[in-house]
Symmetry: C2
Subunit: 584 residues, 2 copies
Amino acid sequence: MISRHWWRIIPAVTWLRRYGSRELSSDLVAAIIVTIMLIPQSLAYAMLAGLPAQVGLYASILPLVAYALFGSSRALAVGPVAVVSLLTAAAISRIAEPGTEGYLGAAVALALLSGMMLLTMGLLRLGFLANLLSHPVISGFITASGILIAVSQLKHILGVDAHGHTLVEMVSSLARGLERTHGWTLLLGTGATVFLFWVRTRLKPLLRKRVGLPPFAADILAKAGPVAAVVVTTGAVALFDLDAQGVAVVGDIPQGLPPLTLPPFDLGLWSNLAISALLISLIGFVESVSVAQTLAAKKRQRIDANQELTGLGAANIASAFSGGFPVTGGFSRSVVNFDAGAETPMAGVFTAVGIAATALLFTPLFQALPKATLAATIIVAVLSLVDLGAIRRTYRYSRTDFAAMAATIFIVLGVGVEAGVVTGVALSLALHIWRTSRPHAAVVGQVPGTEHFRNVERHSVVTSPQVLTLRVDESLYFANARYLEDTVYDLIARSPEVSDVILMCSAVNVIDASALESLEAINARLADAGVTFHLSEVKGPVMDNLQRSPFLEELSGRIFLSQYQAMETLAPDTIRRARAASAA
Amino acid sequence: MISRHWWRIIPAVTWLRRYGSRELSSDLVAAIIVTIMLIPQSLAYAMLAGLPAQVGLYASILPLVAYALFGSSRALAVGPVAVVSLLTAAAISRIAEPGTEGYLGAAVALALLSGMMLLTMGLLRLGFLANLLSHPVISGFITASGILIAVSQLKHILGVDAHGHTLVEMVSSLARGLERTHGWTLLLGTGATVFLFWVRTRLKPLLRKRVGLPPFAADILAKAGPVAAVVVTTGAVALFDLDAQGVAVVGDIPQGLPPLTLPPFDLGLWSNLAISALLISLIGFVESVSVAQTLAAKKRQRIDANQELTGLGAANIASAFSGGFPVTGGFSRSVVNFDAGAETPMAGVFTAVGIAATALLFTPLFQALPKATLAATIIVAVLSLVDLGAIRRTYRYSRTDFAAMAATIFIVLGVGVEAGVVTGVALSLALHIWRTSRPHAAVVGQVPGTEHFRNVERHSVVTSPQVLTLRVDESLYFANARYLEDTVYDLIARSPEVSDVILMCSAVNVIDASALESLEAINARLADAGVTFHLSEVKGPVMDNLQRSPFLEELSGRIFLSQYQAMETLAPDTIRRARAASAA
């Protein structure tokens, strides 16, 4: 009997015990398809991160095994992905020059830091931190990153040198290089791009309608487009010796399994990379969980967010110790894995074996692979991340959310990816504090003929000139505590005849220490002004909390169970008037 | 006729039009008392900030006039205060050495930056940013600052040299200097301290009970204690030539009105000081508004928080242009001003005239004033800021609030004042996000014999095995959107027989764009799992917003006006069972 404790840390224990031949064959088929798809992606995203091609392969071996052991999703396929590779490039190019030993070391350190952060968050159940990334910020970030990545790859399509981290820098650098465009490279690059676009948009309907393939087979064949592009363009280069003509190729990739690497233990480097690692961790986690939940829901399985943190953390640590770079769950390859019938994370282990075999045996085949083809696969993949519809929808739905989204997009494009995310998060928080710092609050009066009390501005109600009742439709906490004070002081400054103020707490679920201090201040200041302060309809848990403070003893007035009872006691005349109004 | 527009920017226009001889005499009396109290405070807080004594006087002249014109409080007395002086010292000692030209310039630049920030926040109505400072963080910060300030002044009482920014540094530096304690200084310093403590704790009751003075007169006389200490110890030094014996004195203070200074326009310096200026602005503002509201409430007057930002901004800019340092509203001197009968901000203008006369004529009198006396006034003043009771109350009331408070105190004492505030704010936000990221949510069922639906775990209710209803007691926004998704997916993963899910929105006041995306994801994923998704009891404004999105068209199920109607339509059997249960 395996103890429950073990199961919690290593979910693999559960599914491995029921692993049979049916699962084996399903997982094998899925793994073969994902392996074929993952090879060009691994090489391409390593290039995007400014790293040697083999690093992409290394990041697609051990991390998959680690995730299979510790992750909670049955179908998630981890490995290098576009957005995280862009963030990696942004972070480590601040530290070292691409192509140097230091650059590679920084990539490994980044994977290690990110892995340790994810693991820590998983163990301490800090997954809620990902909530800081609101949907508009994430969506704006992904769209802007997609544009930035696509533009950054144009230099490979044109066969020119270009640099820059912002859109303006990249475009102006490209424009300066335009006249040195390399003909053969351009031909291969645009050919591959047009072909991949055609595959993506036209081939699938064609295969389904004309050839009559079932949807998932059509989908998988369409996603094999990059493999065809790789084979054809590599063949062309090899056949016509185009690399001698100046077509940039991937070149020699060392043959062999990933080396066991000890990540650099350098506190200076680590503190330099800490913020970047945190951003990569959170963004990778949010994207990955979203994919995993989409797939799990289809089979009514569940994803444990904290277990996902552990799984992704283990994957990144494995990446660091095998010469890789930061990884996370990829959207399109997870969908392929799911559609191809993967039953358990064993499919990931088989994929890792496939990539390991590639690294060991087949790397010479990629020697003549043009970089322009990899750039074309990246461009076509990331342009599907650009979601202009989401921008329009957000604009129509909420201007404050749109403000956070627009700021994220502009800062990502104009300043940098990290600054963009940080700005977006800060702005989301500030807008949230602003929004909740002025909760809906209303002066209420009695609806004649009932025991209900409603907003005086919306309903025809009976009020007392001496007893003023304020209802606040929100929990009271630090962001709105001062607003509550302001509102009460304003009300009594405007109504000199008021002798009693009742705060109706029917919608108050929490009163935190700041709000408690504000209530104490309101009580004391109203007493100074000769006004008695009461509460009504305080919920049970809130009352329990208040009893642990001296507020109830200091309160100048009383706590009433119901608002009606409060008015019966403090303003019996008004109750009588309401009765008369209802009789009339 | 003065236009309403003018009135809004310069509140002084309103009260000046009704200014008469009654107001004049009240304001004059209050001004004389406040001037006498403010002189030693100005000198002391300049010393605390590491600045020459005259800078304290300069900061108590033009800023008072500027506040009188632009502020909204009738009784607030602005000028140098302890906590802001400590923050000033912490900020500018990073930039330059005390006693240098650069140190003075940095103090002036800090006042200018802080003034511009306050003014900008006032004009853009950004006062809500002060809500980021929760009560526990402010209270912890003030207590820790009080301790830090008191310890920092011990060196003046002992007459030794000591340095350090953290409690440990200060105490160990003091301990090393202890053997060089200067006898005469120690005598004067402890004498003044003991006297001031006696005045503060014993004199007032004595004056009231034995002498029979009215409360406010006793209070004001007790607060004149520092003046007596200044007069007596200065006299002693002058008489016995104690400065020649090694007692440190204030020394020569240049005679004259504040010079018109142009604050250094140095973008490097400004960006170095920006965060410090922001903290000083927010903390000064929060403290000042709290004092102003306490006093205004007593006369049922109102404080406009945004106008207060403008007033404090103007005061700090005036300080910068007259060679001063950051100022804000002081608690004890505002109370004295109010109790002494100040009717309008004109009292502040008269106080400014009094301090200007002092700067012009009487500075030679302070030549022999021992620094130990100033240190004693600071120590006695700031120890009243230390509120250990608040720590205990917060601990009993809420552990999360206490965590934020404790972190603030430890970081202020152990690392520094600015790091303490930033940590406290970050922790408050994180704890708030954590708290609201898991709103109260309940599966509900029908209470037999009623149309009410209640939590299945608390009430005996009737539920349907096919139709599951979830009620969330919180607005849906980015911090809890993913929790909502998790909760729904968990529920359907655990209940394979469920065919319909109803989200009961009776407590949802807002659905932001993140929550909308989550609802769309829930809808799509439930549809994948063959489950229909419905909403019930959606509030009017929330519905208006949803209509601006494609969600309502995509929704697999329906929107029901009431939960009862939803169950009538989707699970008529259950309604019948509930009727039978109530009949039985």
